[in-house]
Symmetry: C2
Subunit: 279 residues, 2 copies
């Protein structure tokens, strides 16, 4: 594959080739679902930090990315933010970190979110919402070596409420894709898209309109999306696709062996998510 | 006015009647714009906390609400979150607190954001993004005594990118308004809308489609919206309208008198934003 890639995408591709895996491990540490013995041993924010760091150590051979969702950390206030920083640090450059934040505000404000996530937390990439338009997204794209995954067609049931509405014969999410492709062309950072595994048809349409853009795909496993269908729809070459799995990996066991069991699930998922090399 | 109001809206109306002001003071403490002597005296997160608390003390007689934007606090990591909690506490029930967060995620995750903002930070209300649809917004509406301002037509230039796109003859933002009115009808919390002062025409259309819903209106002053036009378009009765001003108040002076000067501006704005009583 000779097409031009921005630095973020090259880095993503190199991890995916090295691991032979498109797996992104979603770090959504729900206090009601993590092994209860951790809560007996630690304060809540420390418990989710220990939990995530153990999951990362165990699954690192199989993951090309980790995606902490900020909500699960912010709910613990300042100690939760400390836990998030510890978790991101513990990835230690072994994989891409996607800060799942779904931010988006007027330009003046998005700049501060970008600073918080890219400079302070040192995440490689972020998820953002497109609803407020170009000036809410482009401040993130000013960061030359980072990635910005813009929500296009999400995996939840509410995705149908607005994203599927038809404008000039095409759903809103495709209009979002076209705008993001335009913004990407004139900014140093790498734009990407979020397209849920729950709608392979939407995923295929998005790929046709953004042939060389990385797509982050949530919604396999617990949310019902099928991996083979997703791989076929998304053109699963290195640097082009990240397939996220969270709950299936995180909650594989409630016992002391939770990290080892998570690694087993991650290994098996990675096996089914090998990147396709261009012929 | 005899129409039914949810608890959040009644509380908002009572502050607005007592103060005779629809003014919401936006707390966007930009480290590069606050008086520099504060930065010489305090660490950055403490400086913005002191700054906001002084502004609140000085402007309290004129404000029915305060709207801290989370980005300006989160950029300082854990100490920034401590500052935000201090600032919200310092309002001390003298006005409504709107956490300007523009959150929105799958239902499972939105619940955690709602917990963080309503239970931990104890904000009275929040701003959320509608892009992901009903299950991303309704977890916030489960909180019976709180308010949820959903972005409809924002005040920034990027608002035109998607919010103005025409679906079945009407702009996307009006479809958002109709859905929010439906969600509001079946949930205990009070749904509201965000409609920028920069488009009085959109504001008037939104009011016609959501006659009894509170509308948070950013974008007067620095962003260019005209107060008189906004008041006319929005049906400015108590409990129905919040008009936000941030920079004009916050940065009225760079000197030791900044809080007093902020109060002068707030007083003058409040004078031009008296609620209209139903005849």
């Amino acid at each position: 594959m000779s097409e031009y890639m921005k630095p973020f995408q090259r880095r993503l591709a190199s991890f995916q080739k090295a691991r032979q895996s498109l797996l992104c491990v979603g770090l959504d540490p729900d206090i009601e679902r993590i092994p209860s013995f951790l809560l007996a041993r630690y304060e809540p924010a420390e418990a989710i930090s220990v939990f995530c760091r153990e999951i990362i150590e165990a699954t690192a051979p199989f993951a090309s990315a980790y995606k902490p969702n900020l909500a699960f950390f912010e709910m613990f206030g300042p100690p939760g933010l400390e836990a998030l920083a510890d978790v991101i640090r513990s990835v230690g450059g072994r994989a891409i970190v996607v800060a799942d934040a779904k931010r988006g505000d007027i330009g003046n404000t998005s700049r501060f979110y970008a600073h918080a996530v890219f400079d302070d937390l040192k995440a490689d990439s972020i998820t953002v919402s497109p609803y407020m338009g170009h000036d809410s997204v482009t401040p993130f794209l000013e960061f030359a070596d980072r990635g910005v995954f813009v929500l296009a067609r999400t995996s939840n049931t509410g995705a149908a409420d607005f994203q599927e509405r038809i404008i000039d014969g095409e759903p809103l999410y495709l209009h979002v894709v076209r705008e993001v492709v335009r913004w990407d062309a004139s900014h140093p950072g790498a734009a990407g898209l979020v397209a849920g595994a729950t709608s392979p048809e939407a995923l295929a349409r998005i790929r046709r309109n953004a042939a060389s853009m990385p797509i982050l795909i949530p919604g396999v496993g617990a949310q019902g999306g099928d991996i083979d269908e997703v791989m076929a729809a998304a053109d699963a070459r290195p640097g082009l696709v990240l397939i996220n799995s969270s709950r299936q990996i995180l909650y594989a066991s409630q016992d002391e062996d939770y990290a080892r069991r998570a690694a087993d699930v991650a290994a098996s998922l990675a096996e089914s998510m090998k990147p396709i090399e261009a012929g």
